[in-house]
């Protein structure tokens, strides 16, 4: 049941990404292009998504999820160098191509060379990250 629901949630998420226009790199780059012909679309996508998520969180925070299991974890408020460095690197990659993980996967459905190439390197980047983590703490993983 959980698996089926996760699949349906992913489906809805993908349709939302498509309808929002965030699957088009130039819409994202247009938002990031503050000095150019600025496209505010992404702001409105977030502006609609975040309040709805906030409502969901306020409804159930501290209580057990409908499918059972642990209550959602408390949100974190700590920051560290890894967060800033990681977010910066992600931001640079995002600014280069206008694609982040969600739209990357959705675009795979269009079966283009660019989509597969980008996603393959996303996986490679994550794999490299895993290697660096394993090297730092070989007993951890």
């Amino acid at each position: 049941m959980r698996i089926l629901l996760a699949f349906l949630i992913g489906l809805l998420f993908a349709l939302g990404l498509g309808v929002s226009g965030m699957t088009h790199p130039e819409k994202v780059l247009g938002f990031l292009d503050l000095a150019g012909a600025w496209d505010p679309a992404l702001l409105f996508v977030m502006g609609a998504a975040v309040p709805i998520y906030l409502v969901a969180w306020r409804l159930r925070f501290g209580r057990a999820p409908w499918l059972g299991g642990n209550a959602p974890k408390a949100p974190r408020h700590d920051v560290d160098a890894r967060l800033f460095i990681g977010a910066s690197l992600f931001g640079i990659g995002w600014g280069l191509c206008g694609i982040c993980p969600g739209p990357a996967i959705v675009n795979l459905g269009n079966i283009t060379v660019g989509a597969f190439l980008f996603f393959a390197f996303v996986l490679l980047g994550m794999f490299i990250f895993r290697l660096t983590e394993a090297r730092k703490a070989p007993n951890a993983s």
Partner: protein, 141 residues
């Protein structure tokens, strides 16, 4: 900026927020795409089954979009393969080092008023904007 052009972003954003919010209510988990990819890839936290199902939903959603709403997907994500590779690497590595992406930090984190996610989101947005500024207005790409 006209109302017509904002309909897609607002409706799509609402769908994204609803999908992620529903998942929080159902499972207590955040719907972060980069986390789901990494989790499905490494199987580290035993959440791989739902994560893989979520990603499968994203992918099938993409296929559905390509068939039913083809205008929502670009014909190409770009012709510069080196750029796509570099971008993918940075997105893959950076999202993991930073602990999330636009869905994990930007929607789910900010939606729970996590200062950590707010910091991450501001950082990757700034990095993205700076990258686009340099690429478009300095280098002139």
């Amino acid at each position: 900026m006209d109302i017509e052009s904002l309909k897609g972003p607002l409706i799509g954003g609402a769908m994204i927020g609803a999908a992620a919010g529903l998942w929080l209510l159902l499972s207590g988990k955040t719907a972060g795409v980069s986390g789901a990819v990494y989790g499905a890839m490494t199987g580290e936290k035993n959440e791989a089954p739902w994560q893989a199902a979520f990603l499968a939903g994203l992918l099938v959603g993409g296929v559905l979009l390509s068939l039913l709403l083809p205008a929502t997907l670009p014909a190409s994500l770009g012709s510069n393969h080196v750029l796509l590779a570099a971008g993918g690497l940075l997105v893959g590595f950076g999202t993991r080092l930073g602990g999330g992406c636009t869905s994990g930090h930007g929607v789910c984190g900010v939606g729970r008023l996590s200062l950590r996610s707010v910091a991450a989101t501001c950082t990757f947005m700034a990095a993205g904007a700076l990258t686009v500024f340099l690429a478009r207005h300095v280098v002139g790409a």
